[in-house]
């Protein structure tokens, strides 16, 4: 009797204890959940902040101020025999004088000419060289305005600041107001940004050179690293004997994935440039260096996806008489391919965002001409962002953000492709 009561009491107290503990345990779990949830919210918040600031800064770079001018292609200025060297600036100035006829004094005229970009005369030159029959005619066209005019129209130069502290004079603002009122100055979609290479004049600068440079570089990287990495992974996973040597290779591959990218740049400088004498600043060398960097990433991903193929498939293939090679190439690789491709795309998108190794091989450079092959001098998108971020002209601030937006778009779509491939071809056993 006494014994039983004792047991009952101890049971009850145990229950009590459990219940007490239970409340504490629940509280703990609640706390942990709340903390982890707030961590997610915080990181999302920062991401939103980052994107918002980039988009807010950058969207205006997709618009550019243009001035409508009636350009008279004066046959006296344009000598048919030397169209390249003719004074196109004079034509632009003349058109500006006609647009604002009230400006007469020398000093004022000089200020007025500053409203239009120096790129206007390049455009005229291009047009005349392409079509000399224009000489003698008058064409009304939109020509780019100077970056300061552009900044004023976009509200990045404040009109309220006193004249002596402002980059534009009161007179210039007055003229701009008149041109806007007449409909001769408007914001248009900035096609130059997508069609031109780099420039020191913000209104003429574009990302095409950098995008093409990045594309060529990635092409070389893909062509080199994908076959090599996949072959390595297949050999190590399916054919290689397990011994000290293969272990060593495996450890080294994993270590290579953790090597800082600047080291690969130094290697590229020493081997590809100095030893092989390949051309400096070319996407070829950039691609070679970046493929060294992406190789371990792709090898590791490919090996993981080969490991994920169940052994029963290999055994079944061998069982019906397939050779080792047939087993691997007919059955294992097709099943592992989605994983390999995902790894490749992720490796490539890492390579796309890389600047440090390119610094060593001369791809951090001012290059105006859009590269046409893998041996032309080129830069990459992240390098272009770096160079613009360091430029003194204020109009480059928005262009920097716009270039970041383009880079992010490309990266997001590459990663999206990786996710899509995985979803589409992934098989579960």
């Amino acid at each position: 009797m006494g014994k039983e009561g004792c047991k009952k009491i101890s049971q009850a107290s145990a229950m009590e204890q459990v219940e007490r503990n239970l409340a504490r345990r629940r509280r703990r779990e609640q706390r942990f959940r709340r903390l982890s949830f707030s961590a997610v919210v915080l990181s999302l918040g920062f991401l939103v902040l980052l994107f918002a600031s980039i988009i807010l800064n950058g969207w205006s770079a997709f618009l550019r101020t243009d001035i409508l001018l009636d350009v008279h292609f004066d046959s006296e200025v344009l000598d048919v025999n030397s169209l390249v060297n003719a004074n196109y600036g004079k034509l632009v100035k003349q058109a500006m004088r006609e647009r604002l006829p009230e400006v007469t004094s020398r000093q004022d005229k000089r200020e007025m000419y500053r409203l239009v970009s120096s790129g206007a005369s390049y455009k005229l030159q291009e047009m005349v060289v392409a079509d000399p029959t224009l000489i003698g005619t008058t064409v009304s066209m939109w020509l780019p305005a100077d970056d300061l005019t552009d900044m004023l129209l976009k509200g990045k130069i404040e009109r309220e600041t006193p004249e002596e502290e402002r980059a534009m004079s009161d007179k210039q603002i007055q003229w701009i107001n008149r041109l806007v009122a007449q409909g001769c100055m408007e914001l248009h979609f900035n096609t130059t940004f997508f069609q031109a290479g780099d420039s020191r004049e913000p209104e003429l600068a574009g990302i095409r050179g950098a995008v093409m440079g990045s594309l060529f570089t990635l092409l070389v990287t893909l062509l080199l690293s994908f076959p090599v990495a996949v072959a390595t992974a297949i050999y190590l996973e399916e054919f290689a004997p397990k011994n000290k040597w293969t272990d060593l290779v495996e450890v080294n591959i994993n270590n290579l994935a953790a090597v800082p990218s600047i080291v690969f740049g130094l290697l590229g400088l020493a081997v590809f440039l100095n030893f092989f004498g390949m051309p400096r600043s070319s996407p070829l060398v950039g691609g070679l260096v970046l493929s060294l960097m992406t190789l371990p990433t792709i090898i590791i991903a490919s090996r993981a996806s080969l490991q994920a193929v169940p052994p029963s498939i290999r055994e079944a293939a061998l069982g019906v008489g397939a050779s080792k090679m047939q087993t691997v190439f007919h059955h294992v690789i097709p099943l592992a391919m989605p994983g390999m491709m995902t790894g490749t795309i992720i490796g490539l998108s890492r390579a796309l965002g890389e600047t440090a190794p390119l610094l060593m091989i001369g791809m951090v450079a001012f290059i105006v001409d859009v590269p046409g092959s893998i041996t032309d001098p080129a830069t990459g998108l992240p390098v272009q962002i770096f160079l613009w971020a360091d430029s003194p002209e204020r109009a480059f601030v928005e262009r920097t953000s716009a270039a970041i937006l383009v880079l992010l778009t490309i990266l997001t779509s590459m990663n999206g492709l990786a996710v899509y491939l995985r979803m589409k071809f992934e098989r579960r056993w």
Binding site: V84, N85, S118, Y122, Q125, I157, E158, T161, E165, R166, A167, S199, R200, E201, V220, L222, L223, L224, F226, P227, L273, F276, G277, M278, P279, R280, S281, S282, L284, F329, H330, I333, P334, L335, M337, G362, V364, A365, F366, I367, V368, D369, I374, T375, P377, L387, A389, D390, S391, P392, E393, R394, V397
Partner: protein
Amino acid sequence: MQGEKWENFTEEKGMQGEKMKKALLMAACMLLASDVWASGRDYVSLVGSSTVYPFATTVAERFGKTSSFKTPKIESTGSGGGMKLFCAGTGIDTPDITNCSRRIKKSEYESCMSNGVKKMTEIKIGYDGIVIASSKKATRFSLTKKDIYLALARSVPDPKGSKTFVDNPYTTWKEVNPALPDIKIEVMGPPPTSGTRDAFDELAMQGGCKTFPWVKALKKTDKEQFKAVCQALREDGAYIEAGENDNLIIQKLGANPDSLGIFGFSYLDQNFDKIQGSIVDGVAPDFDNIADGSYSISRPLYMYVKNAHVGVVPGMEEFLAEFTSDRAWGDEGYLAEKGLIPMPAEERAQVGKTVKELAPLQL
């Protein structure tokens, strides 16, 4: 269903195999092409200082757009890095021209000579002022070089008057000079790898150092120590190395009006609605004062040309002619618009003559 999928996979694998073969072939072709690429370069290649970069690129772009030659390629490697590449030897895989925000050093000249770069022409292209700027929201500083030295040096002459050096004890500007405001010393500037820093150390810090007669005397007796005490900047947080990005310094000045920033004149020129240059020794850092030499923290900028490449690389002479033309580096030229301070007309004429003759530099 299952069978179909399997077939798809094997088919895809076949295509992948084809692609792989193509890729390998292309890679092989590229390696074979390696002999071809060394044969010629049809554009001028420049390397060097990030201070000269905005000016050199402007000329290069104009040159590319208005001539029949390709646009020169310009790498921003820093003055020292550029010299190293430039002096590596002659041949089209080395740069033709290097930009420098200081004069070539004796050691660099010798390294050039020993690597076969026997003849180079020195071109002085203009001046750049180094400004000590603050936000427009703050009151404008009026400093002397002595103030700058006392505020930023790691060790300063004993404030009590003995002829020894002590660790920099000053925390506010007022302690340095009673005429200055009572705010914490906080200056952002370039790291030691920068040419701007070299020039700042030499012109502002040494200049301030020499205002102490007994320290000036030290220069004659112990040059090493003189350099060490006059050029070492403090590392206790009053001087902040802000990296090479001058735009970042300007943004930080806006956020913290009590701080000062050190950078090249072109950044002040582009942002003069936001920041103001401090007056140094009674002179404000504006275009005219730097041009006539009355603003004392200014330095000449240089270009070095490899004479052996002139006539070999197409467009060299023409590019140099564009750079030294009046519309580029003249008083009203487009480089002045970008913030380069032009040389006086006689000096331009003299340097222009050197460029035409390609008179080799003798050190």
